[in-house]
């Protein structure tokens, strides 16, 4: 079964807030995420993972009356947290997906202690059952 793990991060000054971290904290965080992805790949569980560009670049688009794009800065300036990136994993059980999410959530933060970032876990819909 496939799950999407969505990591949310504080918006900072349009830049995830990581710009205020020390060099050591940044290096530790980057190394942690890289190792996590390597482990998921080696376990055959990684379907995909992407990091998103900074929230300062986010735009919200909807169709205008004539179908042309209506583009506004966004999303929702009042929100404190933004989607920072996601993983899609293919695992045996929901519990395994939760375990991976907890690992990702324990990535070291500015002080070196686990960041404990919230991660939303959603099952990805698949094909209909074969004998339907």
């Amino acid at each position: 079964m496939k799950f999407m793990l969505m990591m949310h991060a504080p918006r900072g000054n349009g830049d995830w807030g990581v710009a205020d971290w020390t060099e050591e904290a940044l290096v530790a965080h980057i190394r942690f995420m890289k190792r996590l992805n390597e482990e998921l790949l080696a376990a055959g569980e990684l379907v995909g993972a992407e990091g998103l560009a900074s929230p300062g670049q986010a735009r919200v688009v909807r169709a205008g009356a004539d179908g042309a794009p209506e583009v506004t800065d966004g999303p929702y300036p009042e929100s404190k947290e933004f989607l920072a990136g996601y993983w899609i994993v293919d695992v045996e059980t929901p519990e395994r997906a939760y375990a991976i999410a907890a690992r990702a959530s324990s990535a070291p933060g500015p002080s070196g202690a686990p960041l404990r970032q919230r991660i939303e876990v959603r099952e990805v819909m698949g094909a209909p059952p074969v004998d339907a």
Binding site: N13, V18, A19, L26, I30, G51, S54, Q57
Partner: protein, 400 residues
């Protein structure tokens, strides 16, 4: 040569021969893919035929004939009473020639979008499978199959002849070919390191550029493109650190640069430049050669690099070149002179973060720590490359 390497070399020649004979590019491309697959399955067990190229042309030709017969039979069932079709005999040896070159010109046709031309070139000329191309560009195989199929359709509709473009069109079409090959190379080079299949993309671009140079030894820009790829690729090993982080030119361990590639690239630059008709690829190759031959950033011939960027800027008017020109100005005349150049640059939105990154480096060199930190942060917030963002944030963190 292994079977696989031989098949890759023969793929465009066989496709050229089949297109020449039957005309229908999309159908010919399918038929050649099937012939290549048959070879990959049969040769290891039954041994390689004496004339592998003729074998492939024959098998692909048979597919074409079957396809044409089937189409005609279907149409006959629909329309009844059509005359017996004339189907070309599949086993006539095709003429040797510059089919590979014709294919390149066809696949890089300006009617195609760049991504389509790139995908089609890799498949038809490079002999890569759709799955391999999809992996290299990190898109699902079905998406890539569709992209290739639409590209072939577009070629059929636009009625591009399987022939060299007219003299009037030649320069523009050659320019498109060079650009497609360079884009393939950049795609592979820029993201090499973490994933190996992308490094393969740079290798494939190099192979095709080599082939193009062999076909057009007297075209200086084709020579320049090959030289530029060699001189850039020579630094590949040194440009990423153990954690996949970006290592800028001035911090790279030059002992890890590929000396053989540099020697070959430099020789090509020296061969191309005196021929006149100096173009952007030769100039960029000449600049890369000056970097590659320098023992360190300080001992680099910056006045010569500045002179080359000045010519290149006049030639291309490209904002990216203007940015590199400003860096060279700073290296020769000091960071303040470079900053003055930057201020004069009208920023394209997609270039803003790169301007900020250069400004940050120059401010740092000028001793303006607060200004540099702010510019690094601005650049980090604007980039869409994760390794580049990490690099810029680390630079800023180090200064604070």
């Amino acid at each position: 040569m292994t079977d696989e390497a031989l098949l890759r070399t023969l793929a465009p020649q066989v496709l050229g021969a089949v297109v020449r004979r039957y005309g229908d590019f999309p159908a010919a491309e399918e038929a050649v893919q099937e012939a290549l697959l048959a070879a990959a399955l049969q040769w290891p067990a039954q041994g390689r035929p004496d004339q592998p190229r003729a074998w492939l042309v024959r098998v692909a030709g048979r597919r074409m004939t079957d396809q044409i017969r089937a189409d005609v039979a279907r149409r006959r069932r629909e329309a009844d009473a059509l005359p017996e079709p004339v189907v070309p005999a599949p086993d006539v040896a095709p003429p040797e020639g510059d089919d590979t070159l014709l294919l390149l010109f066809m696949c890089c046709h300006p009617a195609l979008t760049r991504p389509s031309a790139i995908a089609l070139t890799l498949r038809a000329v490079g002999g890569l499978t759709t799955a391999e191309i999809a992996r290299a560009f990190l898109v699902p195989e079905a998406t890539m199959a569709q992209r290739i199929s639409r590209a072939k359709q577009k070629i059929r509709e636009s009625g591009v002849a399987f022939a060299l473009p007219s003299p009037a069109e030649h320069a523009a079409r050659l320019g498109a070919v060079l650009q497609v090959l360079y884009l393939v190379f950049s795609e592979g080079y820029a993201s090499s390191g973490p994933s190996l299949q992308r490094a393969d993309l740079a290798r494939e671009a190099l192979r095709l550029a080599r082939m193009l140079h062999a076909q057009l030894p007297d075209v200086p820009e084709a020579t320049g493109l090959l030289a530029l790829m060699l001189l850039t690729d020579a630094r590949r090993e040194a440009r990423t650190g153990p954690d996949g982080q970006l290592v800028p030119l001035d911090a790279q361990d030059r002992g890890r640069w590929d000396r053989a590639a540099i020697a070959e690239g430099v020789a090509l630059v020296h061969d191309a430049l005196p021929r006149g008709a100096v173009g952007p690829y030769q100039l960029q190759a000449a600049i890369a050669a000056l970097h590659d031959e320098a023992p360190s950033t300080e001992e680099t011939d910056w006045p010569q690099i500045l002179a080359l960027y000045t010519v290149l800027l006049r030639l291309t008017q490209s904002p990216v070149v203007a940015l590199n020109h400003a860096v060279a100005v700073a290296m020769v005349h000091g960071p303040r002179a470079g900053l003055a150049r930057l201020a004069a640059l009208r920023g394209e939105p997609r270039l803003l973060h790169r301007v900020a990154a250069v400004r940050a480096h120059l401010l740092e060199r000028d001793g303006d720590v607060a200004g540099a930190v702010a510019a690094y942060r601005e650049a980090a917030a604007g980039t869409t490359s994760a390794p580049e963002r990490d690099y810029l944030l680390l630079r800023a963190a180090r200064l604070r």
